[in-house]
Symmetry: C2
Subunit: 414 residues, 2 copies
């Protein structure tokens, strides 16, 4: 048994003492708690839940800034895909470490991932102390043998304390009905989540209607039984009233990726409408090559501003956006986390109340959503363990150097 005590920390507006035992919040009280294995003086800090990133391609940080300001097809065909074709498992490991470092430094303790060589991303996550639901990516273009190998891997993966695996068909325009059904069957049999990009662009919508008897992407997915409370949908931009009713009825999770949708001119997530229709929503950064960072603080501000920009100044409230990034995200992935409460998994941030962006402090959540940047976060706790303290993550210089070397080699490689 190990205990961690954060003394005298600002929590929901008053000073509290927070005791963590192993990986859960054991006691939260204004009464003194006298002893623990490790004690942090919370005097200059506020404690809030950390961020749960609902959609990411972590290792794509290796392509950060490699190709910007391009139309989607040119971006993919001429820049991203040729580079991705050169990636080795060691590269994925180096990229995942850089991504996890960036996520910790900006207060994220969980991400859902969809990329290649998922075991390398899992290795980085296990080592660095945060959580992830890591997709095994599937596409029609993979050979039959390769698909069999991937489904075997999925069947054999056992979730650990912090890492689980998901079945990740890429999108309905790269994965046909047969493979989608096989993915769904595997997810059900293995007790895994299924995650997919859906309704991201107008082109996807138009092509889907052409191919599938006029059905929208959401209608099509529903018609083949792919939507459930364990289906994670990334983007979900082009959805009408009927689509939203389906999403609400099935309990599928809609992950908003504001930076990516804006950068690639994909369209605008209908946050206010989706909420009104009772859909489950979460927030994600997408990969760094369409963002170009993995910072959920930025993503919250974008989500709040974008909701208002297209609707009215009362849409996308700071509280709703903060919930999207924290407890709604945690709940979407079945994590007993996302709130600082006795019994919950012990994930938390300590915010530096002396940071200029948090002064004055009339409304901490509003400051976090609209004003804060990563430098406001002093300490990150995940699963009861401190993974960043005083903005230092153990081994970060080595991680940066390895990532830089990987990128140099990637560019030079034929």
């Amino acid at each position: 048994m190990s205990t961690l005590l954060i003394n005298n920390v600002l929590l929901n507006g008053s000073r509290q003492n927070v005791l963590i035992e192993n990986n859960r919040f054991k006691r939260i009280t204004s009464e003194p708690i006298l002893t623990a294995d490790e004690v942090i003086d919370g005097g200059r800090f506020a404690m809030v839940p950390p961020f749960y990133n609902g959609h990411c391609h972590a290792a794509m940080v290796l392509l950060r800034g490699f190709a910007d300001d391009l139309p989607l097809q040119a971006w993919l065909n001429d820049s991203i895909w040729p580079m991705e074709a050169k990636l080795t498992p060691e590269d994925i490991y180096a990229g995942s470490r850089l991504a996890v470092l960036e996520m910790i430094k900006s207060g994220t303790v969980f991400f859902e991932d969809m990329y290649w060589d998922e075991q390398e991303t899992a290795r980085a996550v296990e080592e660095m102390g945060i959580r992830a639901a890591i997709g095994v990516s599937l596409m029609d273009r993979q050979s039959a043998a390769e698909k069999d190998r991937l489904f075997d891997r999925l069947r054999n993966y056992k979730p650990t304390d912090r890492v689980s695996y998901t079945v990740a068909p890429h999108a309905i325009y790269t994965v046909g009905t047969d493979l989608l059904l096989r993915c769904k069957k595997a997810a059900d049999e293995n007790g895994q989540f299924l995650n997919i990009h859906l309704a991201e662009t107008m082109t996807e919508d138009a092509d889907c209607r052409k191919t599938h008897n006029g059905m929208s992407p959401v209608e099509y997915m529903d018609s083949i039984g792919l939507l459930s409370p364990k289906t994670i949908l990334a983007h979900v931009v082009h959805v009408d009233q009927h689509d939203q009713e389906i999403l609400a009825r099935t309990g599928a999770i809609c992950v908003h990726n504001p930076a990516s949708n804006m950068k690639l001119s994909s369209g605008v997530f209908k946050m206010k409408e989706l909420q009104k229709n009772g859909c489950r929503i979460a927030l994600g950064t997408d990969g760094a090559s369409s963002n170009n960072n993995l910072d959920m603080l930025e993503e919250m501000k974008l989500a709040a501003l974008l909701a208002k920009c297209y609707a009215d100044p009362e849409a996308g409230s700071a509280t709703d956006v903060f919930n999207m990034a924290t407890q709604w995200g945690a709940e979407a992935f079945g994590l007993d986390a996302g709130a600082i409460e006795e019994g919950k998994l012990a994930d938390a941030l300590l915010l530096d109340l002396n940071n200029e962006k948090l002064v004055p402090n009339y409304h901490l959540v509003s400051n976090l959503v609209y004003s804060a940047d990563a430098s406001c976060i002093d300490t990150v706790i995940c699963n009861g363990k401190v993974v960043m303290r005083g903005r230092v993550v153990p081994g970060e210089e080595d991680i940066i150097e390895q990532a830089r070397e990987t990128c140099r080699s990637l560019i030079a490689r034929k």
Copy 2:
């Protein structure tokens, strides 16, 4: 004479030695420079121009997060104006110090301001070492005697090395034609810039057309001779093709405030169209109560994403947005700054190339616009002097404490 040498710094893709003499760049060379009064080892840094914030209400940081997610009129009438009515000159000084601290920490060395008690904002700026063009705000509701006093002050102000003053009629819906003409005359006689909010909301546009024979805000301003290359227009959201031709012809500067426009649902700045029509553009944060920070890095990302969201992924390129925030902004205010070149005023940032958000470094400007946050900025140089080093600004704890105390007192005050 004093000299400052930054050795071996990454500048425009290669390692350079940069010598500053007094307040200007004296020599930039790859040859060794052997001596200077102060030497900074640039090995882990890149040097870029700092930011020039085209529109701000600095002391409004005192109201950061005080009232969010409200419609414009409720926000102004019920929250902002009653609080502003209580502000004393000492409050404005404390708020301006906090604002300048936040700007320095996020790489801004100049701002255009429009608020009350401009002498207090000037005091903070003079003390803390950055630049500003500080507006003396005028509105019809001020008494005749008050207006006379303000115009007297304007006539008597002499610009210093870093601080100048501008004539700042608030907006066309709070300042009638007579006062606007008096402002223009004063600006011309005093050799000062004139700055005003213009074409910010649909309501302003509709009211203007009703009052002024169907003219748009830009047409009206042009019809009374208020537009010139020394006119700074904040927001400029609701402008059609004809308006844009007028703006291009007169050389007036259009300052984009993406966060504020989104947060208050004002509308979307037509960056791509304005550029195509040859209009002069710059970038600003607006005040912290409609943003809620003063961080030009965030503002650049918002400007780039917003241009793409509404147009196409090639609009709002990283380079154009970076120029808006740096040299176009400096040029707009007649500053011989905004670029790292021999002879220019010595304003610069040193970026920490080991910050995870700047790795890899395929394209530094792209990383700055899309990925960086304030923590990437190690050192800020303004007018040849170091105003932040290693992310420390002299006296920051005192500034934070004074601002916090001011806000406590403001809330308690009847």
